[in-house]
């Protein structure tokens, strides 16, 4: 009876699945069952290559199909069972009359070369079917030589991904894939966790004074990540819509699936950090001007004692009154390590404990991570707690649900002020610190009455005052929650509904003690900010795997989503307090500064995708998406964009292409996509900005930016083509892509002549093109059982061009610092550095006046911040239980405007400022230099000038301070040992791994004094450097235990 039912169901199933073929008579039936470790395996495609007939397994893992009599040639054919996520298995069958039964057992695959990848909307796909470039990074890559910021952990590992990190712990990192698309908008990819887009905004400009509060994605705990898919551009990410024009980082978190037993893992990572590179300081001349110095009051009362530059007397031990010596002349000697000694050895500790469990219906995972950082910067700490809970259950055979929630708590103290800011300790010790100022004396920064004690009493704080008297703190509480239900309507139709929210509150407070110098905070001051950000995305997705018709398999996805984003910010503070030391708004001595700002936006979307697979070697995908955005005007707020892509595995289609076994796999792919993008909120109509009341008189003003009631969406059009090849049984593999993209109708705040009454206008204008190549090669020279060696190299070059801008507009200035502009300038690559060069005559000679080089008042292009190419090279060795890996990462080309060089030479602290004072500080002592140039009349310059005058003349000569951005870093080194189970078992431990790990151990850079990688901030303004926080060289160890 049971057999009859089963047989009937198979027949009915076969009838249902193959209505056309079921009518065929007189052939042979091929049938069988496909299983895996977990039991029967549905949705496996079983087909006969060469004959091109096949079927898909049902819920019981069974398949069956009929080969028409005409095809029964008596020849041998290959029967292959293939399913996403499993290694395909083939067998030879002879096509004779009579039924054939063959069962398959499939193994799950884990290699990135073949197998399942997570694509847009969380749709799992067989990698071979993708018509676009996509790179997966597995979990070990993120935790083995870990960086607390997962963005940094991607550096050098994914072709075309450019990471720029800021120095301080918890600082922000900028990530750009295949160059910038948007002239003034966001150019960083969308971050998606378990299908839900999350916020990656970065707090506060860090480059030009201020604090760096990090990019929000750095909250994601690497320990909780199962895999990361990098969707390299609009082509791969079109289904994510507007925000995916810059690509997407799709993160899948770990689940308890497959866990058995206790399922506990614990890991401990401890690293120590020291500055990778500090400026090269001179130690010959001390503070002062014109070779003179004597301290009296630090306000100019002595000789040049209000001058913070190091153009003073030679530090030869001569007796000079110093700031700490109470009028007594003390030996004038250098303090060569005053900057290095300012920094501590940093310490970063990460502890993770995770428990995972599962049975045949449900799974759960709980993970707790504690990140505890003590920075190189004195008193700076960061503590981050990540708690995550993820679980899923199969409620009925058709209904399943999953949910996860992460709680993240950050708490930081005393983040360093960076950049040009009179409250920046780095600025006050590096640039304006006289070379004779020693830390022991400087650390005595406070008088008994609480006022500041320091060497300068007019413009700059004692750096230790900055550190100890002006504390700051910030916290972030964040919850990311997502839940979904999936219902399997039938074998071929599945529906899913999901909603998720990323919510966080950031609180920040900066305090300044009474006695601050440089900025008047008499009485003391504080500034407090609160930010609330909420991003909710709800979506549904129907997936229909249409019954295979012969060699054709089709899958349809149809879905919709709604995105709600809201932000609120509340700022309060006061520059003057009544009672020093009580940092509360009620204690303000003047009208307190308070403000608030809210934004809200909503996007509704509908989208669909159709996938056609022909014989599992030819694939065509088409997608379409329509968005309705709240930020565009009613008539223009709906926009549709399509994409199409194809993949052709020619080695499967044409056996000869295997070239006699040389080529194990070959695939061609191509894709064309369009993505639309909307505006920021409130760009359509004029609103008047409130000013602070003048006494009791309220003030409102016309804003500086003129809105645009007729905005339309901007468009990115992109096509790419790629080739994947694997040779010699996959020992060598290559994946290369060429892409070309153009973003038009950009929504830009175009700077206009302010004589119109506004400094900028929101316009749809401008197009920016990018094209480039990227590729990755994997080689496994040695694949022994005991010894293995794998090499991975990647390379990418991108060329961008600002094709056009708003009519009559030559440039869009992204930022101007010290007269140098970072621009999107017409017919130039994006990120042009535009500034003042040397004044030269027609013959190209420097023109001097009074012996000094002159600056040409006409600005011109001096460089570009984007590199010519970027690349990474990773080697992994395995010998028995030992493994060793190292990763080099390089950026070649591009320029940086180094304000450390400009200010450091002007202030005379850098070694390079010794030019012209080899024989003495003044002309009378025999010092000075003769600039190789000509006078205005063309006669050679013969006037000798002091080094002090020379470097002062180079201030805001931008050309003189442009340096190469090229660098190569030894990004990661790891030496690991997997403790043999025979040993670990003695400690009742299932497995144990230990490793020595290092990051940024070595750097080669052409630029003097700085790490060219230092990010200016998280925005599009790059290519400028100012006394940035030094990047860290870190070294430590890792222990990973599974009890």
């Amino acid at each position: 009876m049971g057999r009859l039912v089963r047989l009937t169901s198979v027949v009915i199933g076969a009838l249902a699945l193959f209505p056309c073929i079921s009518l065929a008579q007189g052939g042979a039936t091929i049938s069988g069952r496909v299983t895996s470790d977990a039991g029967p395996l549905p949705a496996v495609s079983v087909f006969l290559s060469g004959v091109n007939i096949g079927a898909t397994t049902g819920g019981d893992g069974r398949y069956s199909f009929v080969v028409p009599a005409a095809r029964l040639t008596g020849l041998s054919a290959t029967l292959t069972a293939r399913r996403i996520g499993f290694k395909a298995v083939s067998t030879e069958v002879t096509l004779n009359a009579g039924d054939i039964t063959h069962d398959f057992v499939l193994q799950e695959t884990s290699t990135a070369l073949e197998g399942v990848v997570v694509t847009a909307l969380g749709i799992q796909r067989d990698k071979r079917s993708l018509g676009v470039a996509q790179t997966s990074v597995n979990a070990e890559e993120l935790t083995e030589a870990r960086d607390p910021n997962i963005v940094n952990a991607l550096a050098g590992k994914v072709p075309g991904v450019e990471i720029t990190a800021d120095g301080p712990p918890g600082g922000s990192s900028r990530i750009v894939i295949r160059g910038e698309n948007s002239i003034t908008g966001n150019n960083q990819p969308l971050f998606v966790i378990d299908g839900i887009p999350i916020d990656n905004s970065a707090g506060t400009n860090s480059g030009f004074g201020g604090y760096d509060f990090g990019n929000a994605a750095s909250d994601i705990n690497p320990d909780d990540i199962a895999s990361i898919s990098v969707l390299s551009g609009a082509n791969a990410a079109a289904l994510y819509g507007a925000r995916a024009a810059n690509g997407a980082i799709v993160i899948t978190t770990k689940t308890g699936k497959g866990s058995k037993g206790l399922g506990i893992t614990a890991s401990q990572n401890l690293t120590f950090e020291t500055p990778l590179k500090l400026p090269d300081f001179q130690n010959v001349y001390g503070q002062g001007s014109g070779g003179q110095f004597a301290y009296k009051d630090g306000k100019g009362g002595g000789i040049a004692d209000n001058v913070n530059r190091s153009w003073g007397p030679k530090m030869d031990g001569r007796p000079i009154v110093q700031w700490w010596s109470n009028g007594v002349a003390e030996p004038w000697v250098p303090a060569p390590n005053n900057v290095a000694d300012f920094f501590n050895t940093g310490r970063t500790s990460t502890t993770n404990v995770a428990v995972a469990n599962s049975n045949d219906r449900s799974d759960i995972r709980i993970s707790a991570t504690d990140l505890d950082q003590k920075s190189m910067y004195p008193t700076n700490t960061l503590r981050r707690l990540n708690l995550s809970l993820a679980g899923g259950t199969q409620i009925t055979p058709k209904l399943s649900t999953r949910a996860s929630v992460q709680y993240i708590q950050d708490e930081a103290h005393n983040r360093p002020q960076t950049g040009y800011n009179s409250n920046s300790a780095l600025f006050n010790i590096e640039i304006w610190g006289g070379r004779q100022r020693d830390d022991p004396h400087m650390m005595d920064y406070i008088n008994p009455d609480g006022t500041q004690k320091g060497p300068n009493n007019t413009t700059t704080n004692n750096p230790y005052w900055d550190v100890y008297a002006n504390p700051n703190a910030d916290t972030r509480d964040r919850v990311i929650g997502v839940g979904d239900v999936t219902y399997k309507f039938s074998n071929w139709l599945t529906g899913m509904a999901r909603t998720g929210t990323d919510w966080h509150r950031d609180w920040r407070k900066q305090e300044f003690a009474n006695g601050n110098i440089g900025v008047d905070y008499s009485g003391g001051a504080f500034f407090e900010q609160q930010y609330f950000i909420r991003e909710t995305n709800s979506d549904f997705l129907f997936t229909a795997e249409a019954p295979a018709k012969g060699r054709l398999a089709t899958t349809f996805n149809f879905g919709g989503s709604r995105r709600d984003n809201s932000t609120s910010q509340y700022l309060d503070g006061t520059p003057h307090l009544v009672i020093p030391g009580t940092f509360n708004i009620g204690n303000s001595a003047v009208t307190p500064q308070v403000s608030s700002y809210q934004t809200a936006r909503q996007t509704n979307s509908m989208y669909g995708q159709a996938q056609f697979a022909w014989n599992n070697y030819l694939f065509v995908d088409a997608t379409g998406r329509n968005d309705w955005s709240s930020t565009l005007p009613a008539g223009n707020n709906s926009y549709f964009y399509p994409s199409v892509s194809g993949s052709f595995v020619f080695t499967d289609a044409i056996q000869k292409m295997h070239l006699g076994g040389l080529l194990s796999y070959g695939k061609l792919r191509a894709s064309w996509a369009q993505v639309g993008n909307d505006a920021d909120p409130y760009q359509l109509a004029v609103t008047y900005a409130a000013g602070t009341p003048f006494g009791s008189v309220p003030r409102f003003t016309v804003p500086d930016q003129i809105p645009n009631a007729h905005l339309k969406p901007e468009r990115t059009r992109s096509w790419e083509t790629g080739l994947e090849l694997r040779f010699l049984d996959d020992r060598v593999s290559f994946d290369g892509t060429y892409y070309n993209k153009l973003t038009t109708d950009q929504i830009i705040p175009a700077q206009i002549t302010p004589t119109i009454g506004y400094t900028s206008a929101v316009v749809n204008a401008g197009s920016l093109s990018n094209h480039g190549i990227e590729g990755q090669i994997n080689i496994s020279p040695i694949r022994g059982k005991k010894f293995g060696w794998d090499v991975t190299a990647n390379y990418a070059r991108n060329r961008s061009e600002v094709v056009s801008l708003y009519k009559g507009l030559q440039t869009v200035v992204l930022g101007t610092y010290w007269g140098l502009s970072v621009e999107a300038r017409q017919n130039q690559p994006y990120g042009t550095l535009f500034g003042n060069p040397y004044l030269r005559n027609s013959a190209g000679r420097l023109v001097t006046l009074n012996g000094l080089p002159q600056t040409d008042p006409t600005q011109r292009v001096l460089g570009h911040y984007s590199p010519d190419w970027i690349g990474g090279l990773q080697n992994k060795f395995r010998y028995g239980n030992f493994n060793f890996s190292f990763l080099f990462d390089t950026k070649q080309g591009g320029q940086i405007f180094s304000t450390t060089k400009m200010f450091g030479n002007m202030s005379g602290v850098l070694k390079s400022s010794l030019v012209g004072r080899e024989n003495g500080q003044t002309l009378a002592e025999g010092g000075g230099l003769i600039v190789d140039g000509v006078n205005a009349d063309g006669s050679p310059n013969t006037t000798k000038v002091t080094a002090q005058a020379y470097f002062n003349a180079l201030f805001q000569n931008h050309e003189a301070n442009i340096v190469s951005a090229t660098f190569t870093k030894l990004r990661e080194v790891r030496l690991g040992y997997d403790v043999p189970s025979s040993v670990s078992a003695r400690f009742r431990i299932t497995s144990m791994k230990v490793a020595l790990v290092g990051r940024n151990l070595w750097m080669h850079a052409a630029a003097p004094d700085i790490d060219p990688e230092t990010a200016f901030d998280n925005s599009n303004v790059q290519g400028i450097e100012f006394a940035g926080f030094p990047s860290a060289r870190s070294l430590g160890f890792l222990v990973n235990i599974t009890p």
Partner: protein, 495 residues
């Protein structure tokens, strides 16, 4: 069956979401800005405009670090860029866009939205403030956008108007402001930070400004100058220091005098040797010996004694236009700071003072363009300046009687010009323009001045940002003026 009822929730949720996704009618409402109002009345714009243009023109940047340096009232003791006429482009871009996209746009909005006939007392003060601002701007930059400026249409970058046309426009606007102002009709009330809604005083300010700008044409168009001067005086100008156009800063921490805010964090602008030495040269002898000489009494108000000397009456000015290291070498304790009266939290910014009006009237009388006795007006002008600076009348009487000050018809125009230059302390734009028109005093460029030929700069160069944003119009203006170098003269500035 119960199970299937439950599980039907899944497609229902999906459908609900689908419906939500399709409902796009509410989207426009989401984009209503909750942070700022879509319209405001002129009472809120006018104080913003006034504080913006005055705070900028009389602030630490445009005044202390530019126009007062070029008038040689102030000298830099380091960072000598502007003092040597080497202009930092960012600053000039900022002043230019600050005027046009700041206060001038608020004023243009008021003028565009209010009818002169129905709201005369809202329109007249806006016309006066617009004229005051454009007067400063065209004096510094020559030809600038004026008639087509502030039209709020990014597709129409304005042409530059010749300075001659701008002057005609200013004089016409001031004339109509005088006609429009009606005492007793509602104005800005307490939102009028200059005159607290007093229409009569706005009339006087309009006429006094008209006098200022009419006289500026004395060399280039004496006929117009004469007619306009006479008309302005006849219409009624300032008659006492109580009429002064002043912006009084509350000094509440958020709205301090911009000069105060400047000196809180920097100490690099000191008194110029030129002004200090001039004030010293105008001494009064109160006894037979050199020790019995008293400097121009305003010196002790304008300047502080140097702090490196115990002598409380030792005033030293710093030379203008030195190389940075040479300026530093002098030492900031060895030269005088700006006097405390001019750098207090509540120190008013002067838009125009009674003394300037009297000097202008004196000059008009000396030229025979207006009634009155030049000597009397000259003495009254000095007295007004002295009174403003808190100097007792008996000291003033001795001062105007001293041979170095006493009016002499043969040198009258030079004396008037010199005293006006002195009285215009803290109004760098006016002192600089007065010097350019009269050549008094005989200012010399500092040794490190970058001008070719080596002279005191005669105008500001255009902001480089205009090259990027409105280059065709800019180049046309430069061509029309025969060049716009630091050494080029604006239209009214004739040798």
């Amino acid at each position: 069956m119960r199970l299937s009822t439950k599980i039907s929730a899944a497609p229902l949720i999906a459908l609900a979401l689908f419906a939500a996704g399709c409902d796009n009618s509410g989207l426009t409402g989401v984009n209503h800005n909750p942070n700022a109002p879509p319209s405001v009345t002129p009472q809120f714009l006018f104080p913003s405009a006034v504080t913006d243009v005055v705070g900028r023109a009389r602030g630490g940047g445009f005044d202390l670090t530019l126009t007062s340096l070029w008038a040689q009232h102030i000298a830099m003791d380091r960072f000598t860029d502007e003092d040597t006429y080497s202009i930092r482009p960012d600053n000039i871009n900022g002043y230019w866009s600050g005027f046009y996209a700041g206060g001038l746009q608020d004023l243009a909005t008021i003028l565009g939205q209010n009818d002169a006939k129905t709201k005369p007392n809202l329109v007249a003060p806006a016309l006066v403030m617009k004229s005051w601002t454009y007067g400063i701007m065209t004096d510094m930059w020559g030809d600038i956008p004026y008639s087509q400026a502030n039209l709020s249409d990014p597709s129409r970058p304005p042409a530059y108007d010749p300075q001659k046309a701008i002057y005609a426009g200013i004089l016409a606007d001031l004339k109509s402001a005088n006609t429009l102002s009606v005492a007793g009709t509602a104005g800005y009330g307490s939102a009028d930070l200059i005159y607290n809604g007093d229409a009569t005083k706005w009339k006087k300010f309009a006429n006094s400004l008209r006098l200022r700008y009419a006289l500026r044409l004395s060399k280039v168009d004496p006929a117009t100058a004469q007619t306009e001067v006479a008309a302005a005086i006849a219409a009624g100008v300032f008659t006492s220091n109580a009429d002064n156009a002043l912006l009084r800063w509350p000094g509440d921490g958020t709205n301090n005098s911009p000069i105060y805010d400047n000196f809180v964090t920097r100490d690099d602008q000191h008194m110029s040797q030129t002004l200090v030495n001039t004030l010293k040269s105008l001494y009064i002898s109160i006894g037979p010996t050199p020790a019995d000489t008293v400097f121009d009494p305003r010196l002790a108000v304008y300047a502080d004694p140097i702090i490196s000397s115990p002598n409380k009456a030792l005033y030293v000015g710093a030379p203008n236009g030195l190389q940075d290291d040479a300026a530093i070498a002098i030492g900031i304790t060895n030269t005088s700071r700006v006097g405390v009266a001019y750098r207090g939290k509540t120190t008013p910014s002067i838009l125009m003072a009674y003394s300037e009006v009297l000097f202008d009237e004196a000059e008009a009388a000396a030229r025979g363009w207006a009634p009155g006795d030049a000597a009397t007006l000259y003495n009254a002008a000095i007295q007004a300046s002295m009174q403003y600076n808190g100097i007792a009348d008996n000291v003033t009487a001795a001062y105007v009687a001293s041979p170095r000050v006493a009016y002499s018809p043969s040198t009258g125009l030079q004396q008037i010009a010199l005293q006006r230059w002195i009285a215009l302390f803290s109004e760098g734009t006016e002192a600089y323009s007065s010097w350019r028109r009269t050549g008094v005093p005989d200012l010399q460029p500092g040794p490190a001045a970058i001008t070719t030929p080596h002279i005191v700069a005669r105008r500001l160069t255009y902001p480089v940002s205009e090259q990027s944003f409105n280059n065709a119009a800019l180049q046309a203006a430069i061509t029309a003026q025969g060049g716009a170098l630091l050494s080029s003269r604006v239209w009214w500035d004739k040798p």
